[in-house]
Point group: C2
Chain length 473, copies 2
């Protein structure tokens, strides 16, 4: 149904507009984690609405008690299927000293788009938008909706509330999420499962002010030392093995079949190390690396705050310490259970330490076979010239679980980012190769869904729900 020649010339023609939109979006420092950026978050929502309406789509800001959602799209008619494409427009902070350019000054260079948010997730959002625009211009019998979140990087605390606004955010027949990463350049990957996330802060105050370590050291308690002893009691640093009793009880280990799929994914340890800049890993066995990053839970230490972190060594005994940790969770771990286990374990290690929960994302298991997966396969093959591998993704997208629970429709993934793009890392970038492949793949996916039609999709969904088929842990 897609005329390839027409699609090629469309993609070529809209490139300047794509780059203009991306530049505008990257230049807004929409850091949802930083409370001082509230004004930028509002600007981001307004800019998103402008991008949609400039292309002739309707668009609206859906207010929540946090940052809003942006909802919009093109309606062909109620007899046609509706697909909602999910992206997010908030970004990670960009404080790392390794940044070579101003993170929020968009820079285009030889088809590379530099800036925080370029690949996570503004660039992919715009690829989906322009892919859908092609479908609309070709008058395909499909309704395409966009759902752009502004709180993804802080665990989607108000996303579920936003979805309750059914008028502004209608229930679709299926969802496609474009916020995941390939295994490697030239190796498209479609995940069918996501890890969950549970953050926690451990704090300890032993005094009202920092004290001179010469005058008090030896008798004074050291809250930093006590906190790290607790962390060390939660995880074995070298192996990553979590020591919290009961932590692994509900973990569903990947099946032999899944592990066989992993081995077919094209994952290479050397590429993984290069993409993320690792000098060494906890293991060099490829299957074990995949198992650990996709299918096993973790306990990660992100920061230890307190004491004197400036230049030189200030010889104080700190009065307060804070530790930031998070756990990636896998099916069937339940975040509430894991938090209770953590809290109990910390209380046994050091009863003076306070444990606070910071954000919860449940692990997700999605469809891995059936017509939607086949449609994604074909769309990616046509967009990028290569079949995707079916994998899991080690990251967490809270909104996915919420959409699954709210709408109970199939949720598919069509991510466009590469490992070397620097997700959550310094010098983030995106590129035209992935952007244009993505536009083509989204145009083809719209065509696939239009061809499938609404009736067919409803039938498929009924069967799937009845049999439980197509679910995998």
């Amino acid at each position: 149904m897609v005329e390839e020649r027409r699609l090629q010339s469309f993609v070529k023609a809209i490139r300047p507009r794509y780059e203009d939109f991306l530049a505008q979006m990257v230049q807004v420092p929409s850091i949802s984690m930083d409370p001082s950026r509230a004004g930028d978050m509002r600007r981001m929502a307004e800019l998103a609405v402008n991008c949609l309406t400039e292309l002739g789509a309707e668009a609206t800001i859906v207010e929540t008690e946090g940052y809003p959602l942006v909802s919009g799209g093109w309606t062909a008619g109620s007899r046609y299927p509706t697909v909602t494409i999910y992206n997010h427009l908030d970004v990670q902070p960009a404080q790392e000293p390794e940044w070579k350019r101003e993170p929020f000054a968009f820079k285009k260079e030889d088809g590379i788009y530099h800036g925080r948010g370029a690949t996570d997730d503004k660039g992919p959002a715009l690829s989906a938008l322009f892919g859908a625009l092609f479908a609309v211009q070709q008058e395909m019998p499909i309704n395409v909706r966009f759902l752009w979140e502004l709180e993804e990087e802080i665990g989607s605390p108000h996303f579920a509330a936003g979805l309750k606004n059914r008028a502004a955010v209608p229930r679709p027949d299926s969802v496609v999420v474009s916020d995941t990463i390939w295994i490697a350049k030239g190796r498209p990957a479609v995940p069918y499962g996501l890890r969950g996330l549970l953050g926690a802060r451990l704090t300890l105050r032993t005094g009202s002010k920092d004290a001179h370590s010469g005058l008090t050291g030896g008798a004074a308690r050291n809250p930093l030392a006590e906190l790290i002893e607790v962390v060390q009691g939660c995880v074995d640093a070298k192996t990553g093995r979590v020591k919290i009793p009961g932590f692994y009880d509900e973990v569903v280990e990947p099946t032999k079949e899944e592990l066989r799929d992993f081995l077919r994914s094209g994952f290479r340890v050397s590429r993984f190390k290069t993409a993320y800049g690792f000098r060494s890993l906890r293991t060099d066995d490829p299957l074990e690396v995949m198992r650990r990053i996709w299918a096993m839970p973790t306990f990660e230490l992100h920061a230890v705050n307190g004491g004197y972190s400036g230049a030189g060594i200030k010889t104080i005994v700190p009065s307060y310490g804070e530790v930031k940790v998070s756990m990636r969770l896998v099916p069937n771990q339940v975040p509430e259970t894991i938090f209770a286990l953590l809290k109990n374990h910390v209380a046994q290690l050091n009863p003076d330490v306070t444990v606070t929960q910071e954000g919860v994302l449940r692990p997700f298991r999605g469809v891995f076979e059936g017509p939607y997966v086949e449609a994604i396969r074909r769309a990616i093959k046509k967009g990028f010239g290569k079949e995707p591998a079916l994998v899991r993704e080690g990251g967490s997208i809270g909104a996915v679980v919420t959409m699954q629970q709210t709408w109970r429709v199939p949720i598919l993934f069509m991510g466009l980012s590469l490992p070397e793009h620097g997700y959550h890392a310094p010098n983030e970038h995106f590129d035209w190769r992935q952007a244009s492949g993505g536009i083509r793949a989204f145009a083809h996916y719209c065509s696939e869904l239009a061809t499938m039609g609404k009736v067919e999709q409803e039938k498929e969904e009924r069967q799937r729900t009845a049999s439980g088929k197509g679910q995998r842990g």
Copy 2:
């Protein structure tokens, strides 16, 4: 030899000048630890020279490869004894959020002098200066010299080199150091020993950039987690017991006699906790607290840098971590030996961790009996109305060991700070009660030394050196 009435009216008369000098000094943020303060360090040296010359003393800036020394004083004649009074004019950083006032905006309030450096060590330096001024005005037969350092807070790296300038920094007959703290308000204390200090940085890099913990967590090494495992392998956080093999081998435990002196010092655990704002201690036994803070070595964790320390939890796997620690050392621990033990132990715990030495101060043992100690006793009794207790001090003053090694003359201590003054802590302050008592005590001490005379002092020194008497570990 001191006419009390005359001294009282002198003290009263010079108070405005004392406060003016202190205000000027506190307003210079002479943070030797902060390389961006080089200009302020120079201003501090110049201001110090001005203070001395305004009072009629000669004064000179003694250049070193680091920050200079300020040397000056009044000369009565070479047949009279010379005392050098040591203070330092550099200060600790003042970044703590607990500061209630601008740290470098001097504020006088009901006889309290607020500001960083007020008690450590600018206030005591000026007390000594004005006490000596009285002696000079009374034409006492004594030469009084001042040696003001600007690198005390960074471990006196160029002090020894500065002392080699014999013309600018002549060898005295005795030294008095005014940079120590009483046991409690109303309980003067004279220490005869100091702990040493050995700082170290532990660093570990496992990647070139921080990575997304969803995409890499489980396989990626976590340098923060590995570093804290190393720290935990060096010290038991709850007891403070150092786990480095051989660490305690050369420690000379305090004798029964010393412990008996400690018990007579007026030390109270409750006062200690209040003064430093501690909620609880590792032990509540008073003698054990004193033993730990004065006579036993420590391993203190000051900071863990790396990862994301901003607002919220940024779920990255850090690529780099840095830990700042220091050890207080006691006689007869040798810093070089201890550093070698640390380095060896860390290499066994984690060979990828780099250990860097950061500053060394040797532990010190001084005189605890004889005419100088008696002179100090009488001067303090007259200045403050109460006999001092002979104690040890848990802090470290690198310059003390250097002066001992360079000049081989008696070094005495006459500190004026109180525990509640906030040494190395937020809301540092000094007060007129301690300042004026100090001026009186220094005036009396000059008188005592003048009465003792040069010949007597030389005889005493020869005896002391020959017999080894008056040394205590």
